[in-house]
Amino acid sequence: MSGIIGKKIGMTSVFDETGKQVACTVIEAGPCVVTQVKTIENDGYQAVQLGYGTKKEKNTSKALLGHFEKASTEPKRKLVEFRDSFSDAKLGDVVTSEIINLGDKIAITGQSKGKGFQGVVKRHGFAGVGGQTHGQHNRLRSPGSLGACSTPARVMKGMKMGGRMGNDRVKQSNMKVVSVLHDKNLIFVKGSIPGHNGSLIIIEK
């Protein structure tokens, strides 16, 4: 399983071979630099660490600067480890979007948009109170009962209630690649992906 770090650019659409319009998300995948190679002899497992984006030198700690120095590259914004992949990678190698081909199924991990404090209808998909009549004057989107009475005399742990929603790490699998532009490091994925435009994402193949 190989992967790459990317950035969500935004959404547009493409027409497939039958002329059907397909909504898709544009992702800038790479170029990434191999910043560390982990081996079974040395670390107990095989993995590579990729770096993506740019970061000012003054905002990078001395320890990390030394880490990037080893791979003879500029400071990178995001470092992600990919296990059991790129077995022949060497320190300082550049990984581009060319590892992703047309028609591939990829998994995308990102940080979803924060929605703030939300009620149970939006947050957990509760149906709310059925009608607007029969004395329901202010509880249209209320959660209803939280449990039984004197036994257990408490609210069970994990009861679905209102609260902060979004801003979670979300992984979406089986996303189809509908178009690729390798010269610009861009890939087009069918459907939407988590996060704001410009947010960093992890692509796994």
């Binding site: 650019i9 935004g10 493409v14 039958t18 002329g19 532009l181």
Partner: protein, 116 residues
């Protein structure tokens, strides 16, 4: 956002359709592929709206078919649109003439725009 715009500039295919807007009477020649056969279907009606921008832009056409109002939405850059014919320019005051949906018979006519 800018990347999307510059990207769409490259992706947008060449189209030589007449410049139509809401209120115009046009016919769309739409390619229909049935198995191996391909034929052209003509949908003629009034443009209700043009919506969106760039590659994702669409337009809606409304016609009265056997007394029933039929609306169809076409993606502007759909490869299946073979041709767009402009028959009449309409004289309307808004860009989205949704009020046409509530009108029937003679009231649902659009005045033709005559220049000069």
């Amino acid at each position: 956002m800018d990347i999307i715009k510059t990207l769409e500039k490259d992706l947008i295919p060449e189209r030589s359709f007449p410049d139509f807007k809401a209120g115009d009477n046009i016919s769309v020649h739409y390619r229909i592929i049935e198995g191996a056969k391909e034929r052209i279907q003509i949908f003629r009606g009034d443009v209700i709206q043009r919506k969106g921008s760039g590659l994702t832009q669409t337009f809606t056409i409304r016609k009265i078919s056997n007394g029933i109002g039929v609306e169809r939405i076409f993606p502007f850059y759909s490869p299946n649109i073979a041709e767009v014919e402009l028959h009449k320019r309409g004289k309307v005051r808004r860009a989205r003439i949704y009020y046409l949906r509530d009108l029937k018979g003679k009231a649902a006519r659009i005045k033709e725009l005559r220049k000069g």
